[in-house]
Subunit: 172 residues, 2 copies
DNA sequence: GTACTCATGTAATATGTTACATGATTAA
DNA sequence: TTAATCATGTAACATATTACATGAGTAC
């Protein structure tokens, strides 16, 4: 079983502590979602595959009469995660549809470029605000890599919004 | 036929002038690839679909004895492209595996974070250099949106590399 | 009693990558 | 003559989204 990026998201989340599929999804949605999303349709089948491969182990942990499966890393899972983190040749894949539109903006009507820059600026301001809210709620923890990436998200989105503003002024 | 982002890549490239599938792929590889890639396995079937939908038209333009199909936009294709560019609700999807690794770096060994920051810095310096080479070759054309996005790519990759350097110094 | 959250899962569909197959032209 | 480039395409596989289905617990 070749682990995919999604495998590593699940493994990584479980390295932060035992979790149910539902909890993993909730955590993804307020953290890695901004640069790597995962849906239920990926998470639940992935949990089964990882369990079958011996990288995680599940146990019934019902809450009241509500059934619930909580998974945790096995030693094999932990070393698979570590190996992935330490692997040098990684794929830096990037996708941003707003840049695609901007790239082709000259094929749109007169104000298209300015409108796209304005929309992108607004969007990234919004994401930065969301991330700041998460930061305020979760607290600053400069030692943690998770916080480092949160900080990256804030700085990154601020920078993009500022860039859009600057270019909008410059070129209209 | 619902157009996908890939449809729009093809449509957008043809808006810059008639092209063969091979030429579209070559152009994508030195432009949108940095934020939106497309493979032959997408481009050729997509050309057929777009032609069937009446958004583009193909014509035989062999070079010597080498067969070759050149496509161009129909009026319907042009307006589909315009509509997409002007649509306000766009998906700002982003994926960056290097951030995923960084996010989980505390689950790796001691120097993992610094190593990941260094690798990311190096990677983005490299992309910035590649983009500057494209800029030098293609020339600066501040009026074109394609150039604006190239400029964005350079600034963006420089910024990320600088951010990594700064954080590497700060936190080790 | 109704809406929301917790919780798990699947099926259909869409999308994308990789490897392979083929063959002509061009430059060294 | 050999390698690179131009050129088109498909099949197998991998990945991901969306919608649907189910049902218990909790807060109003």
């Amino acid at each position: 079983m070749e682990p995919s990026p999604t495998s590593h998201v699940v493994l990584g989340m479980l390295a932060l502590g035992p979790k149910s599929g539902y909890e993993i999804k909730a955590l993804v949605d307020r953290s890695t979602r901004f640069f790597w999303a995962a849906s239920y349709g990926q998470i639940y089948p992935e949990l089964r595959r990882l369990a079958a491969a011996g990288l995680i182990e599940g146990a019934d942990r019902p809450q009241g009469g509500r059934k619930r499966m909580v998974y945790e890393l096995t030693p094999a899972g932990r070393s698979t995660l570590r190996a992935w983190i330490e692997e040098p040749p990684e794929t830096h894949e990037l996708r941003d549809e707003s840049l695609l539109k901007l790239f082709f903006a000259d094929s749109g009507k007169a104000g298209a470029r300015a409108a796209l820059l304005a929309a992108k600026e607004k969007y990234h301001r919004g994401v930065a605000a969301q991330l700041r809210a998460i930061e305020a709620e979760a607290g600053k923890d400069p030692k943690r890599s998770t916080y480092l990436v949160l900080r990256y998200g804030i700085d990154f989105n601020d920078w993009i919004a500022d860039w859009c503003k600057r270019e909008r002024r410059r070129s209209g």
